[in-house]
Symmetry: C2
Subunit: 337 residues, 2 copies
């Protein structure tokens, strides 16, 4: 799916900032794609964008109302439906990361048809894909992998894409999860694809490109996560990365949502290379990205120095210390832009 | 899904035996679940069961009409729809392995509602699953894995289940593909599950059972197949096998449908153990099952002796030489029944 820009972000009346993290993520990385935010009375979240009515957003050039917040319970409240219908009647498309399908709500479906507008359900996959082929595509690719789910793979890929572009590389970000799709304006939530087509969808998400162009691919799950490793392996095979970055959170002891202990960074490097060789025999690790939020600055630097030396790789916290060290490694391994 | 038995097998008017391989597979393994076959004029397939009309099948006790053949082009021909409606009106459920959803055909949907009958679309997954948990379940499990797709994993699992039961083990077959679901009467086509739930579906397919009971689980794909390895890994993690059997076809050089070379048997053993340890630290290989159809009897025996010695494991062709050697290995490793 391709989502028309610029966006008008709908935050509804969510009771806390976390419920609007999709909107916050979009503003963090694509503020220039957003004309403003729509907040209903009582909204406790704020992206910092100008507050607007839907009509004001339309007048400011918005093409799509993005539902950038989740309500409790997963149902779409009636007063949110009212806002969505108002946006469709104003001539906007609507894109949602909610579990509920927009077109399943009669008033929204009718308003979209009446106005000839698109409805995008980013979390639900409605595309069909071919099965993966495993053949080499032109262009170069970097995949974020992890010792667990939710260890900063999306942030790392976005920061790497930004740093690569700043250094003169022709780089683009490839989204594989719902917030990422809003940030890239294209993609699909890989975990919502039918199992037979995971690798095929990953091939579609990182298509053939110029020999010197780089695709920085958002990772999903972990090869060591007993719930989601199948998605991770299909993504690894389909994205056939030349390089990968291992993302890690050093204070976590068990994998998210299960009782399984965290693998070591070396475990992840070894298994990623072993499995990744199937579709890219030259796959290699280009760095380690650590979320050091739980450590103070001295501890963080000491930790990064220690694991960098241990693995012979650049280790950084993308938030605190940027991605320059890993871009240097890419430059040394694959050449300057 | 649970499919009511006994079955009446519908073969339609398919032009060759291969088009009815689902029906043939059911008769090979569960002849006693079938009361007869329904063939239309011109049908070139024959399961060897008594020919019956739908009314005769109902009178013989059939509970479900199983569409055990595929027509060319994937559409359901109008005269097949007529037979299906006749079956529903006669009080039978209908189960299908076709790509088309039975309930999407208005006449079938209406007949099912009119008669209060069930429609089962085995190839389409309509169930919801939890995500995988990775926690150890009681009971013992054997999974068929492979160097490729379509190397005899279903046949091997069924033959192993039969041989285990014959030796006095409390064994059952767990289906993960469409023909397997008809043969087990329960299950889901794992490749049709949403990617996030592969491991969770595999956990549901091989649930907690008695400590001494064995589940023999149909495999899917290969960890080395660039299209389907994600399904294979999710199945491995979810099924947490105690033992696995590597299935192999010795004349194949490339993996099915792609240009990727076949892995070695040792590659498959090593990676299956490495990944399988995540949810069962004691996972081990209990044997090798080879489809030797392309070899004459002497060649087959020589080949099996060679790879058996090389890997220190029993190697057999389930069709030609049975599964006794692998049951012996299970008995030696895990104890007599």
């Amino acid at each position: 799916m391709e989502i028309a820009r610029p966006y008008l972000l709908f935050l509804g009346d969510v009771p806390d900032a976390l419920a609007a993290k999709t909107a916050t993520g979009i503003v963090d990385w694509r503020k220039d794609w957003c004309v403003g935010q729509v907040r209903l009375q009582g909204c406790a979240a704020d992206t910092g964008l100008p507050d607007m009515s839907i009509g004001e957003g339309k007048a400011a050039g918005a093409q799509t109302l993005v539902i950038g917040a989740v309500n409790a319970g997963g149902r779409l409240p009636d007063h949110w439906v009212t806002s969505i219908v108002e946006a469709l009647d104003a001539g906007l498309d609507v894109a949602s990361g909610l579990h509920v399908r927009l077109g399943d709500i009669e008033a929204i479906k009718e308003a979209a048809e009446r106005n000839g507008r698109q409805l995008h359900d980013v979390r639900l996959n409605t595309m069909t894909f071919a099965t993966g082929k495993g053949t080499k595509r032109s262009g170069k690719r970097i995949l974020a992998v992890g010792t667990d789910c939710s260890v900063g793979k999306k942030y790392t890929a976005l920061a790497m894409d930004k740093a690569m572009n700043a250094r003169g590389y022709d780089s683009s970000f490839c989204a594989t999860g719902q917030t990422g799709v809003f940030i890239s304006g294209r993609g699909t939530a890989l975990d919502a694809v039918i199992a037979d087509f995971i690798a095929g969808a990953a091939e579609w998400l990182s298509p053939e490109t110029d020999d010197n162009a780089w695709q920085i691919i958002e990772g999903q799950g972990s090869l060591f996560h007993p719930s989601f490793a199948g998605v991770t392996l299909g993504l690894l095979h389909g994205s056939q990365p030349d390089g990968f970055i291992v993302c890690h959170e050093p204070t976590r002891t068990k994998m998210r949502g299960v009782e399984t202990p965290l693998p070591s960074i070396q475990d992840v490097i070894d298994l990623t290379i072993q499995c990744g060789r199937l579709t890219n025999p030259d796959i290699r690790c280009v760095g380690i990205a650590v979320n050091t939020a739980a450590l103070d600055e001295d501890e963080a630097q000491a930790y990064l120095a220690k694991i960098g030396e241990k693995h012979g790789l650049p280790a950084t916290d993308p938030v605190r210390f940027g991605m320059e060290a890993i871009v240097d490694k890419v430059s040394a391994e694959f050449g300057a832009p």
